[in-house]
Every structure is written in C-alpha cells, then in structure tokens.
C-alpha cells in the first residue's frame, strides 16, 4: 500500500451482533431437567409420587424442555437442570411435599442458569446509552467553574 491509513482495519471475524433475547422472540433458557430418585428409600417417596402423577403435565406445558428420569438407588432424590449457558443447577428434593417439589421444578424451569449475584450494591448496568446524556460543564448557559 502506497499510503498508510490512520484507521485500523475491521476484520470480518470480529463483526458480530449482541444477543437481544426477548426483544422479538424469547428463547427459554432451560433445556433439560434430570430427575434422580431411589426406588426403595422413603426420602424419595414424594418424588416418586410427583414423577408418576405430575411429570406428564409438566412435560406437556413445557415442550421446550427435555425431561429425563433416572433411577439412582440408595441416594437422596435430586432434580438437575441444564441450561443454555452450559451451567447446571442441582436441587435436592428430599424433605419436600409434592407441591414443594412442583415449586422447585418451576424454579428450575424459570431460571436462566446464570450464577446468583447480589444486586444490592450494584450500580446501574445497561447496554444502551443514557436517555438524557451525560452532563457537560461547557454546554450550560454559564460555563461551569471548578
């Protein structure tokens, strides 16, 4: 090249767009839930009842989730949710009644799979610029003097 340009070239592989889930369509983040139960132990009794009676309706209401049932003997019952961000959430199901198990399953279905982060101390985070712009001391009627 005879002349050097002041600008850096843009490489084609770096041209990408950012996700906007929910702006036009929403992709639910939970893709699979695996239920593991024991066939004998009483701690899995409520889980077994749930699997026999309520799992079918959960599957019908959530066709985007793959539901897997595994027998895991002599262990406590769990529900493991797999998410699109490659993370998983494990929820123990012992100690809950059937409606409690339903609530935990709903929790797994609603979750995004992201790590739980404390929101109390976080300042505003946004992908868009501020609506009113950032204040400038040069753009007021009287020049701002420090």
């Amino acid at each position: 090249m005879a002349t050097l340009t002041a600008t850096r070239p843009i490489f084609r592989a770096s041209l990408r767009s950012a996700q906007a889930n929910g702006h036009a369509v929403f992709i639910p983040q939970c893709r699979k839930i695996v239920f593991e139960y024991c066939d004998k132990w009483p701690s899995s009794a409520n889980t077994r009842t749930f699997l026999l009676k309520h799992l079918r309706s959960v599957a019908e209401e959530n066709p985007h989730v793959e539901l897997v049932v595994r027998q895991r003997n002599h262990k406590e019952p769990i529900a493991r949710g797999f998410y699109i961000n490659d993370r998983d959430k494990v929820v123990p199901l012992n100690g809950f009644e059937v409606n409690g198990i339903q609530k935990k399953v709903q929790l797994l279905l609603d979750s995004s799979g992201a790590k739980i982060k404390p929101l109390k101390r976080r300042t505003i985070e946004s992908t868009t610029e501020s609506a009113r712009g950032i204040w400038s001391g040069l753009h007021v009627d009287e020049l701002f003097k420090i």
Partner: protein
C-alpha cells in the same frame, strides 16, 4: 495450579469441546466395538471421540430444541431438525465406523440456501433502515447481522451446541480445517432454509428478523474516516450547500495541561456537527466526524420501513399465501456517498468535471 495455568488455550478448548453423550440415548455402554473379545489377541482400533461424535442426539432433545426455537409444529418427525444439526464433516468418520449403514443426511445444501436467504433479508433491511449509509459500512453491517460469527452465536444461544454432530477434520490440501464455530453456523442457516422449505418465504423472513435482525450491532464503530473534513466538504458540495466552516464554540484551559475545545462545523447558518478535543484540530476532526455520522446514521423508523421482500407472496410452489399483501410503496433512495473514502483501499480522487462552455472557451 501453575500447571493448569500453563496449559495451552487450544488444549483447554479441545477438552471443553470433546463430544459428550447423554446416557439416556445409549442402550449399551460401553459400546461392544470398544471391548476386546476374550478369544482374539489382535488389537482393537476404536476412537472414542469419533464414536461419540457419530451418535445421533436423543429424539427428545431434538424435539425440545425444535419447540424452543418455535419450530415445534414445523414437521411431525424430528428428522429434518436432526438433518439441520448434522454437519458434513461427520460423513467420513461415520462411514469408517459404520461401513454398512447409510450415511446420515447433512445440512450443507440447507446451510447454503439459508445463507443466501439471510443475506437477502439482512441487506434489504440494512439498506432500507439506513438509506445514506456508505456501501462498505452496509457490507460490514450485513456481516455483523448474518455473518459466520453471528450465525454461530445464534445457534449456540438456541441450544444447538449439544445437538450438533460434527467432526474436527484436520487441514487437507483441498480444504481447510473444520472449526467448531463453522459447524455451528451451518445449523442456524439450515434452520432458516428449513422454514423456507416447509412453510413460505414470508415465514423465513420473519424467522430471520426475529432471530438475526433483532440483535444489536454497533454501527458507529464500523464508520471510520481518514480525512473526515475532506469527506464532509465533498458531501456538502454534493448536496448543494454552502462550504463548511468550523467555528470555536467554547474553550477552557487553553495554555494548561488539559485544554478542552468545543468546535462546531457550520454550513451557512446550519450547524452540521459538533466535536470536542484537547487541541483545536482534534476538535475540528471530531466535529466533521459527528456531522458525517449524523448523515450516515439517519434511520428510517421501523414502522415506516418498506422492504422489497414485501412483494414476495406465496410459497416455493407458487401458491399465493392466504394473507393479503398491502400495496408496496418503495422507500426513498438515499443519496449515494461521495467517491472519496468510499471505495475501500483506493485513494483515487476523480478530477472535477469541466463544463462544456469552459472547453469551448479553451478551444477558442
């Protein structure tokens, strides 16, 4: 801990991308080919990665994926979706592992068709939304909306990564190595083509708009200038306005270590752009950039958008769709950008055209 840190990035990603199969999809595990029979002493040639990659995903996972993307009612069987998730790199190892079985259907043709469709929808959308955008920026924007990186990202965000069947083929003399993002990008393109094939072009258009063209791109970062003052002067001349003049609007700290100058660039009475800087020339540069960006980034409001693909009615077989098409009113064509700085790397400037009277005078 130190050894883990020293591990190369390539091996780390290779570990992460090793094919994994859900146990629910395999009947007998470990596979009989992997086990050595008691009688024979011959060695067994079994590659677990190839075997894992050639396993089909469980039908429940494929159906769930189809429903997640809104294509649950597209077909009755998950075979088409499975075809969309199968990259052609799987055929060679599959044929070696299962010489008697028929080869799995791959998504190459679908991906090519989907690529063309996405390019069509993206180009008309970008051009209609930003009528004054320079050509090179339109091309960059189209790449950002439906290019290879975005297609791979879309496929990953849909959850196609565990369903993708591919093989990391090495470099050969005839074709380069197959990369994971390349295989993934074929999935989202193939899905667009599937929607076109099974439904109609309008359905494919709405699929493209929902999953690709609703994403966010940084258009401002794609507009770059080497000499914005010159480009602005030529553009203003093209629009038939007065020559641009820059005026100092505000300043502070001129001889200090941190001066700030605010310069406005005017064409007659109209302020075209404003810029700040720590030097007068920098502020003028930014003002010219601002003026050009205000022109290039003028956007048609989405409700007033008129896309040429509105005139496509009907499906592949020429049957008119039941939806009544509204009469198409073409959008206004934007002014083409000036030649300077628009033709990529060429810095050719055309000499100013002489009028006929001048030439006649010269002849005399």
């Amino acid at each position: 801990m130190q050894n883990a840190q020293r591990r190369l990035a390539s091996t780390a990603t290779a570990q992460k991308l090793k094919p994994t199969i859900p146990l629910s999809s395999v009947r007998t595990f470990p596979p009989p080919q992997a086990l050595k029979p008691k009688d024979s002493k011959s060695p067994i040639f079994f590659d677990s990665d190839t075997w894992a990659a050639s396993q089909p995903p469980p039908p429940a996972a494929v159906t769930a994926f189809a429903h997640r993307v809104g294509l649950g009612k597209l077909t009755t069987s998950p075979k088409l979706i499975q075809q969309a998730c199968t990259h052609e790199s799987i055929t060679l190892p599959y044929s070696k592992l299962h010489p008697n079985k028929p080869l799995p259907l791959t998504n190459t043709n679908l991906a090519t068709l989907g690529n063309s469709l996405l390019g069509l929808f993206a180009t008309e959308f970008v051009h209609a939304s930003y009528p004054h955008l320079p050509t090179r920026v339109v091309k960059a924007a189209v790449s950002a909306y439906v290019g290879p990186t975005t297609c791979a990202d879309v496929a990953r965000e849909m959850g196609a990564a565990p369903l993708l069947r591919w093989y990391r083929a090495p470099n050969t003399l005839l074709r380069p190595a197959v990369l994971h993002h390349e295989a993934l990008s074929s999935v989202s393109r193939a899905l667009t083509a599937l929607v076109y094939q099974e439904r109609s072009i309008e359905a494919a258009k709405s699929f493209a708009h929902n999953y690709f063209l609703s994403r966010e791109i940084d258009l401002r970062a794609m507009i770059k200038f080497t000499n914005p003052k010159k480009a602005l002067a030529l553009t203003v001349e093209k629009f038939g306005r007065e020559k641009p003049i820059s005026r100092l609007l505000k300043e502070t700290g001129r001889f200090s270590v941190s001066p700030v100058f605010v310069v406005g660039i005017y064409s007659g009475q109209d302020k075209l752009g404003e810029g700040f800087g720590s030097s007068l020339s920098m502020a003028e540069f930014r003002a010219a950039e601002d003026a050009l960006q205000r022109l290039y980034l003028t956007r048609t409001p989405p409700d007033q958008l008129r896309l040429p693909s509105q005139t496509f009615t009907g499906d592949v077989f020429g049957n008119l769709s039941s939806l009544k098409s509204t009469p198409y009113i073409p959008g206004e064509l934007g002014h083409a950008e000036v030649n300077y700085g628009s033709a990529g790397r060429s810095s050719i400037v055309n000499p100013a055209n002489r009028t006929l009277s001048e030439e006649e005078l010269e002849e005399d």
